[in-house]
């Protein structure tokens, strides 16, 4: 399929070059779309062949769900069961890892190695680079969620109306965005070697304090007070509300908080990006 696409493109190119007008070269819409598609495909293949990324991000949510969720899956929690509740929280846990590490570590590493500079020197549309990473994070999240939901239905006795499943999936897939922004900020502000430890240092304690491992109600009071200041908490709660059913004013608060965090992290990333642009590479 690749081959035929390439040959077709070459033919077009040969025809074009005969009637090439002087002045500025331009791209057709089709060519631009092709760049976005190829960029996303490349990003996906790069990640897919990295076992150090795929295995932890896809399997950890499944393993944690099995450890914590399957033992008491039928036990009742507020308006739901443990089996369903933990799908929302470990689903959030997984999506956050895919986004945070997918952006944070890869941007920092590609920046440090000079790959980012090669991309910036090329005529690649700047946004294509980020769009590819977002698409990749959503695709990996989708795969992880499908596996997690299958596990939940098959072994975790999770039973929900279709609308709840759809709402949960949609919420979690959109949840990629704030944490992609967070990863981007880390990727631009942290060094190539420190990005992974920084991500871990944020990810693990924040997941716990936001009630993604144990329901927030079972955590110490002090932690419950801190949680609303953490972005992880808001995605977890938004996901849980899709299971409990109904859209409340609390959900608007969570959406507003996540939007606010997204803007904040993008601003931080922009500062790092500026600093990076003017910087000398070896």
């Amino acid at each position: 399929m690749n081959n035929s696409a390439n040959t077709a493109n070459v033919n077009v190119a040969t025809l074009d070059s005969g009637t090439w007008a002087p002045g500025t070269p331009t791209r057709t819409v089709k060519q631009t779309l092709r760049i976005y598609f190829t960029e996303a495909k490349s990003e996906f293949l790069i990640r897919l062949r990295l076992p150090g990324y795929v295995i932890p991000t896809i399997l950890f949510p499944l393993i944690f769900y099995s450890l914590f969720g399957l033992t008491h899956s039928q036990a009742a929690l507020a308006r739901t069961t443990v089996g369903a509740y933990l799908l929302a929280t470990f689903g959030s846990f997984g999506v956050i890892a895919i986004s945070l590490f997918g952006f944070g570590v890869s941007v920092a590493v590609e920046r440090g190695q000079g790959w980012m500079m090669v991309k910036r020197a090329s005529p690649m549309p700047r946004f294509a680079y980020f769009a590819a990473k977002i698409a990749m994070a959503m695709l990996f999240s989708l795969v992880m969620l499908l596996l997690l939901f299958t596990l939940g239905i098959a072994a975790g006795h999770a039973r929900m109306p279709f609308t709840a499943w759809a709402g949960l999936s949609g919420t979690l897939l959109l949840g990629v965005l704030p944490f992609a922004a967070m990863g981007l900020a880390i990727g631009y502000l942290a060094g190539p070697n420190s990005a992974a430890p920084v991500c871990n240092l944020i990810y693990l304690p924040m997941s716990f304090a936001s009630g993604l491992w144990t329901p927030i109600e079972f955590l110490p009071k002090a932690v419950q007070h801190i949680a609303p200041f953490l972005p992880f908490y808001h995605l977890g709660q938004l996901a849980l509300d899709r299971i409990r059913g109904g859209f409340t004013t609390a959900d608007w608060v969570h959406i507003a908080a996540l939007t606010g965090f997204t803007i904040f992290f993008l601003a931080l990333a922009a500062i790092g990006y500026r600093r990076d642009e003017g910087k000398t590479y070896g």
Binding site: N2, N6, T7, N9, V10, A13, D16, S17, W20, A21, P22, G23, T24, P25, T26, R27, Q31, R34, I35, T38, E39, S42, L45, I46, R47, L48, R49, L50, E110, G112, Q113, G114, W115, M117, V118, R120, A121, S122, P123, M124, P125, E277, G278, T280, Y281, G282
Partner: protein, 323 residues
């Protein structure tokens, strides 16, 4: 507005286009000046080498031309346009000094990705062949040897069939064989009638490839010319011999630029070796162990940068004119 752009189009056909232009460019990193009032032009079909030691400002010049940095003073143009524009970027390809690129992408996938950025890419097979990557198309980048990795970076630079190619120290870290193979590939690309700006600190590389050499020393162009001109600008030949004549007597011979006493004789630098030798033989019957060598580019380069270090800025620029 539309008329003006039409006129520009006609002008571009009538006038020989300048591929790249530096006009009084200065660039500082904080307090450290990297380039100081540098001007040069790169014409289509020309391979120009920017030659200088590490830290001379070569990479800074390339970054400015690629729009990766902005000059503090002066003007940088690519085909008459700002290097930040997409239109300029679509006409250039760049091979930069990069530590690593994503290792889990295959060679052909890397090339396909970069090819789609350009409106008129070369066919994949042509890129593979020009870069000497036959048989490696389906290998992951991480599995390649150092020389092969450099070739992939070269392939990414040429795949868009750019009118202007930047090669920033392309053969650093390669062994002699790989370097020579790489030169063949660069020549093959230039034969397509495209312009190349090559930065290097290997004099041999400039000598072997460049139509024109710009010698950059501490942010200033100190010499400019063809490899031959650069070499002949410095005393042409070295005569080594043992002689009964004193240093003073040798120095008196017309055409002798300098004399140095070595432990096994004297070393005479001259631009007229034959005449000087005849005179030496006439004046000293006991002249022995005569050995004549041409000045290599290496000596020429050292001489030029050494002179620059000694002289004032003004003299350096006069020398540039003299060359």
């Amino acid at each position: 507005m539309k008329t003006r752009s039409k006129i520009e189009d006609y002008l571009q056909v009538l006038l020989p286009e300048v591929a790249a232009e530096f006009c009084g460019v200065s660039k500082c990193y904080g307090e450290t000046p990297a380039l100081n009032n540098v001007s040069f032009r790169l014409h289509p079909g020309e391979l120009v080498s920017l030659l200088g030691a590490n830290g001379a400002g070569k990479t800074t010049a390339v970054k400015l031309l690629l729009g990766l940095a902005a000059p503090n003073q002066g003007r940088v143009r690519i085909f008459g346009q700002s290097p930040h524009t997409a239109a300029a970027k679509m006409r250039i390809g760049a091979m930069l000094q990069v530590g690593k690129v994503p290792e889990t992408l295959k060679v052909r996938e890397h090339i396909e990705l970069f090819s789609c950025y350009y409106p008129r890419p070369l066919p994949l097979a042509t890129v593979i062949e020009t870069a000497g990557l036959q048989g490696l198309e389906n290998r992951l980048f991480g599995e390649l040897s150092g020389g092969q990795k450099q070739r992939v970076l070269f392939a990414l630079a040429i795949c868009g069939d750019p009118d202007l190619l930047f090669l920033d120290e392309p053969t650093v870290g390669l062994d002699v064989d790989s370097r020579r193979a790489f030169w063949r590939e660069i020549r093959a690309f230039v034969e397509r009638g495209r312009s190349v700006l090559l930065t290097t600190h290997y004099l041999e590389e400039s000598d072997a490839l460049a139509d024109r050499i710009l010698v950059l020393n501490r942010g200033t162009i100190v010499a400019e010319g063809t490899p031959k001109e650069i070499k002949s600008s410095v005393a042409g030949k070295t005569i080594r011999c043992t002689t009964a004549l004193s240093v003073h007597q040798v120095q008196a011979i017309a055409g002798v630029s300098s004399v140095r006493v070595q432990k096994d004789g004297v070393e005479i630098l001259t631009s007229r070796a034959e005449a000087v030798l005849r005179e030496l033989l006439a004046r000293d019957a006991s002249l022995a162990n005569v050995e004549i060598t041409g000045t290599g580019l290496e000596e020429a380069f050292l001489e030029i940068t050494r002179r620059d270090g000694r002289n004032s800025q003004r003299e350096a620029s006069m020398e540039k004119i003299a060359l």
